[in-house]
Amino acid sequence: MAVAIAAEGLGKRFGPVVALAGVDLELPAGGVLGVLGPNGAGKTTLVRILATLLKPDRGRARVAGFDVAQHPQAVRRRIGLSGQYAAVDPFLTGQENLIMIGRLYGLSRPQARRRAADLIGQLELAGAAGRLVRTYSGGMRRRLDVAASLLAAPPVLFLDEPTTGLDPRGRLALWQVLGELTARGTSMLLTTQYIEEAERLASMIVIIDHGQVIASGTPGQLQARAGGDRLDLQSPPGQDPRQLAGALSALGTAEPAIDEAAGRVVLPVAGGPGILPEVAARLAAAGLHVSGLALRRPTLEEAFLALTGPPPSRTQPLQHDATGPPAATARPAHRIRSTR
């Protein structure tokens, strides 16, 4: 199995709604494909087609060497699916859930029991394995759900927004587990709304919007597609960041993004470090100070926003919405101090 997932021209429509409008993608065995896209972009439909739950209206897909439409059972024996919700039975214990799934994969009772015990240990559920799942926290349910998808040690794993609803600690723990799996050769397709998650786990990224692939490549390639560099400026307390933006906007290749609350200005620029003397000169001429300055490549987040359309608000273009992960919102502050 040299290619874990290959899709050609996948199309799917639900009544008048076009969910997928011709998606091509390929994931080499052992790779991790991050599928990014806004809500309603078609990510879940894509996962469902590849996991044999939905038939495409057009196009073809092969998963683990088998055509999903022609040999769904062969595909099912080689995949694990962890959907958007933790699909575990709340009225069974963690262990009972896993043994049930193991039996349905065709493992004998002792095999299923052993495999369940292994996964319970690996996903740090040992203390809760004998408890009904209804008593579990959201993070524990998620881990159990991922454990269920790993029961048959599938060569190809589908994870649809695996860390949605997890706290930062639960997210890190799951990333750790997924990282170990990929290190040991499992191919993975992961949809996510968290760019940091894709950066952290994915070797290849596909951005889909309105059912189409609008960009694909390695994280580095996508960052390059966002164009040029970013000049990151931190205004000292008490100074209006708009003054910084005003003094330097003529150097930019696009409008600066101003985060007034954080006192931060991000200006897309071209020309590399050669523009830094000019930046210093203009700041001095305007009598302005900066408490931090960095020239860097665009983040994947900026690339994503540049490729999927403008952010909803010009005043806070760097902020995630309130439901975003704390880790991701904290990231720009870290980046601002880093240099190229």
Partner: protein, 268 residues
Amino acid sequence: MITAAGTAALPDRPAPMLADVATITGRNLRRLVRVPTLLVFATVQPVLFVLLFTYAFGGAIHVPGAARYIDYLLPGIFVLAIGFGASQTGVAIAEDLSTGMIDRFRSLPISSGAVLAGRVAADALRNLFVVGLMIAVGAAIGFRFHAGPAAALAAVALAVATGLAFSWLNLLLGLAVRDPESAGLAGLFPVIILFFTSSALVPVATMPGWLQAFARANPITVITGALRTLCLGGPTTRPAIEAAAWLLGLLAITIPAAIARYRHATSS
């Protein structure tokens, strides 16, 4: 450390379908004793039906051909309790759909009928218990079989077979309406209407003329009639054939329809 890909070594051939059905049956039997609503539907409700209908109506209703009202009543109450209990099957499958359990099951290498058949098998075992419980409670307050042990066993078998048809119907309803609460109502509504327009509580001859034709064709009348001849005695062949025809007809429609729906079901 996480086991590397491929080391769990699935068997070369998938497990036989019966093994998958047994696994799903086990899941549902566990739920039956752990989910409070399900436990009430399987224990308190059947007992209450027997006691309430016997003591509330029993004094007022005298039925020709039955020495005691409970002898006439109990076969109809079997159908009522099984029909009400089956509404929980629609609720459960709709819940499985909305929580993504169906997505997970459908991503597994099992046959599309196994999940539904496992549910129906668990229901059948529950119904065996429910009928036994109602017979025990009924016997304590005067119910007796009058047609011998073979006919009594046949009555229990027919009641459980009726449950199969109700279960498949409710699986179809649950997969069609998708929302668990609506699925519960969709399952109860036909049972309530058909039960009170049937011969379960009173003889059809006591109903107004316009209702009699409907009541005679009503499957609950037909099935209750067959159960009654098996419990009380009398010619059984024709009622049994009519009841079997209804049940087989219902199964012939609901089983393929439910499986077809299941094969395309995904959480929304």
